[in-house]
Symmetry: C2
Subunit: 459 residues, 2 copies
């Protein structure tokens, strides 16, 4: 659906103020692209609601009309998650950007979904608090909830799922549903909150959320650890995770990626298989004790070097470089698109996954970079190619396929954090078996007309 | 349904070995009572499956016959959760008691649902690991999953929900569904795992689970903190929770409860409003630093005394006494039943809830004891009475009602950890509003004949 009827345009126009509904070409085109190579169909219009009531009125109307609706956050997804593949209406949530309350005593914040995570953190920081899930991009809270986003600190602090306490959700037919509550724990009824977290906008639109916050740690300590082989580096991950030292970040980087980062960013990091670690604690003294234990474990596992002399500036540079890995790769290959593997496996299987992935790249002579949130068993391979070159792209997809099949064989998942979107739908049956049919039943129950973010998650 | 037909008895008998299906009176009576004052209807029979295949075959049969089925773990629930209120078949899970694997490198265990948590901990302990959720009773893993149980360590380690990675569930019609996976994180599809966690056996039977484990902390430190008023004690909770010191336990006890514990257990604890705290860390040195900071915060909040000289033996006695609070109360009033309030609120509202609850008891001259998992905002009031004495019991129910209404007004819940069962169904509409109807729709989708643990959660 690329065009509304004049009656539909009139009706939608009355539901929001005039500047917040557009059928202009440029606005519509802006909403057909995230960072994946996928493209949406041209939507018939864009709407920017500012309240739960508006969202409810809009969905009540579109449901009756059979108009597909796709929620949109910051558009930073990697799998086509927010693209309107059937056109229709794109509901851009970025004007619902109010922080309703930060309640330091409760360690909670109440927010609208269009708040950006960096904005939330800037505000929560004034109370000594932060919202820990940290995808590389500055995403909206709504997009993070819908994708169950996570990041480098998830090994210590958890994923978005672990920080959502309460939601207001508008169902596809306009019904407004509250979920969860503000108490720190509850055993009351079905966990509707977590049914919506990770549902990628296919079950309804999140219009308000209560989030848990954490205290900003008093002391940080970063360490870079260098190994001779990728295997030794990745084997050390399980040792560190089992140690009780509770690292706040534990990232694996390959020499190929570090080399690219050195060249593109002017860094001077050793081009060796490496772990980037971070530890958080109540005092510098406690952290030095932690670091000494970590060093011992790493050296026992064959580490060549363990550097903790990283100063605050360098620490920030290091993590910025890691956060911007995708942008760095993307920029180094202008005009090319990226295909991102996001498999995750139990930690004991991480070394074999890392080695297998690098071998796949080498065997197919593909351009790609292996790295990942090692402490979570989450493995990224960012591969570079031209989707218009059928042969080349198919070969990248084959690598993706073989890595995902291996991950699922090992009890893992096709996506540790990016979500299914368009790109990973073909793995759903493989990964979930009979659970996939139950997910489809739930989708059918809540969205019987199949209008919410159609063409995602399900094939 | 209190009797099977001879054909049904024959059919059920063929599905398991002869010693694992019983229509004997004593077995049936044993399965009509948990620790609540509620009573089940006499079931027609009890079955003890040992495998997913058997559970599937049994449910395939009962579904066709319209026989109600109620799963049963250790029967330690507080709200009638496992009682067969429509009779039918009780499925006792305690013979599915195999620990399938403890995988230390992955920090995970694969278990059948009838494993008891203490058994799991004894086994995991050999690898330096433990399963943190710790309800007072020695419950089964299946019962803990179904109730989303938690305990004194939940403020640091989380509830059962946070430790379930993967399930095998048999749906009411016998379909076998896998959920989740063994990777530490995933954004793949709807979170079916957490739909079943906390569903109290109303959506299907859990027949296998993969659980996350945590490393046993190197060092423990317990502290008892004494205050002049209940308000000062409960106000200190938010301070400690916001401090970043991350206590591993933070329990509130009233002088009345401590007095009873002293009398019944021969303890010599000061009969003052108190906080029992515990801290876990990587070393004794780090813990002493933590304790010094905690003491400073507590003294600033008006603590009269802060004792950390608690030795390992005393530490265990202290926590055992706290864990056995309910048994102690129960034993002190022979022939009486208990009605247990389990409300939870955001931490900032905890002081007013505590004070309000004590006032309610005083105003109605009811026998009851206030205490709770303060760090989670979870408040227990164990009230003692005789359900046959209509007037007395109604007055206890009124207290329960007024506390729950206050909690819900404050954004909290009627149950922080015990679940809805029979006793708290009347609060579901109040607490969940339009979410309650959606829960009913989900129940109808997965159990259209209403045969799984009927009469629970929904009115
Ligand atoms: C450089 C880079 C690095 C990244 N690193 C990570 C990483 O480490 N970890 C990670 O998890 N992700 C990462 N991502 C992916 C992305 O940033 C996250 O998935 C993020 O959560 C997307 O948020 P968004 O606001 O951009 O949402 P969008 O991309 O706009 O939308 C995401 C999904 O949410 C839905 N949606 C949006 N708002 C709502 C709402 N209010 N209600 C219901 N549904 C809604 C959309 O329909 C869509 O399905 C990275 C992206 C980039 C560009
Ligand atoms: C002294 C005492 C202290 C307690 N303290 C706490 C506490 O601090 N925190 C807390 O959370 N609870 C506490 N409880 C309550 C209780 O121990 C927990 O709720 C526990 O999880 C119940 O487990 P169970 O094995 O006894 O399950 P049961 O009581 O037998 O059953 C509980 C529910 O689970 C269902 N069920 C059982 N097995 C399965 C299965 N395999 N598949 C699907 N459904 C199943 C049943 O149908 C029922 O609905 C306490 C109880 C006592 C007696």
């Amino acid at each position: 659906m690329e065009q509304f009827t004049p009656t539909q345009i009139d009706a939608l126009s009355t539901l929001v103020s005039t500047d917040r509904f557009s059928t202009g070409q440029s606005n519509r085109e802006l909403h057909t692209k995230d960072i994946s190579p996928h493209r949406g169909r041209l939507p018939a219009g864009i709407i920017w609601p500012v309240s739960t009531e508006e969202v409810s009125a809009i969905l009540g109307y579109t449901y009756g009309q059979g108009i597909p609706v796709t929620p949109w956050g910051a558009g930073t997804s990697t799998e086509g998650n927010p693209l309107p593949v059937e056109g229709g209406l794109v509901m851009d949530m970025t004007r619902m950007d109010r922080i309703l309350a930060i309640r330091p005593q409760d360690l909670q914040a109440d927010v609208q979904p269009g708040v950006f995570r960096k904005t939330l953190n800037a505000n929560a920081g004034r109370s000594g608090l932060f919202f820990p899930p940290d995808p590389g991009a500055d995403a909206t809270i709504g997009g993070m909830i819908a994708n169950n986003a996570s990041g480098v600190q998830t090994i210590r602090y958890g994923a978005t799922r672990d920080y959502v306490m309460r939601l207001t959700v508008v169902l596809p037919d306009g019904r407004v549903i509250p979920t969860g509550g503000k108490a720190h724990k509850s055993s009351s009824g079905y966990d509707l909150t977590r049914l919506f977290v990770g549902s990628e906008g296919t079950l309804g639109v999140v219009t308000e959320a209560t989030l848990k916050l954490a205290g900003i740690p008093v002391a940080h300590l970063a360490a870079t650890v260098v190994f001779n082989t990728l295997e030794a580096a990745s084997q050390t991950v399980a040792t560190l995770m089992g140690s009780g030292l509770s690292p706040a970040a534990l990232e694996l980087l390959t020499p190929e990626l570090i080399g690219l980062m050195n060249r593109e960013k002017g860094l001077g990091i050793a081009e060796k298989p490496s772990l980037f670690c971070e530890f958080h604690g109540v005092s510098e003294a406690a952290l030095h004790e932690t670091a000494a234990l970590a060093e011992e474990l790493c050296r026992d596992s064959g580490a060549l070097d363990f550097q903790t002399g990283v100063k605050e500036r360098e620490r920030k540079d290091l993590w910025r470089a890691r956060h911007e890995a995708w942008e760095t790769i993307h920029r180094a290959f202008p005009g090319r698109e990226t295909l991102i593997v996001d498999a995750a496996v139990p930690i004991s299987s991480y070394p074999q996954m890392v080695v297998f992935s690098q071998q796949q790249l080498d065997a197919k002579k593909a351009v790609g970079f292996v790295f990942g949130h090692a402490g979570d068993g989450n493995l990224h391979v960012v591969m570079v190619g031209d989707p218009a070159d059928d042969g080349e792209w198919a070969s990248l997809e084959e690598i993706n396929d073989s890595i995902v099949h291996r991950a699922v064989d090992l009890g893992g998942t096709c996506t540790g954090e990016h979500g299914i979107g368009i790109g990973k739908r073909r793995f759903m049956q493989l990964e979930h078996g009979a659970g996939y049919a139950l997910m489809k039943q739930i989708k059918g129950l809540i969205d019987p007309r199949g209008l919410m973010n159609p063409g995602k998650m399900f094939l």
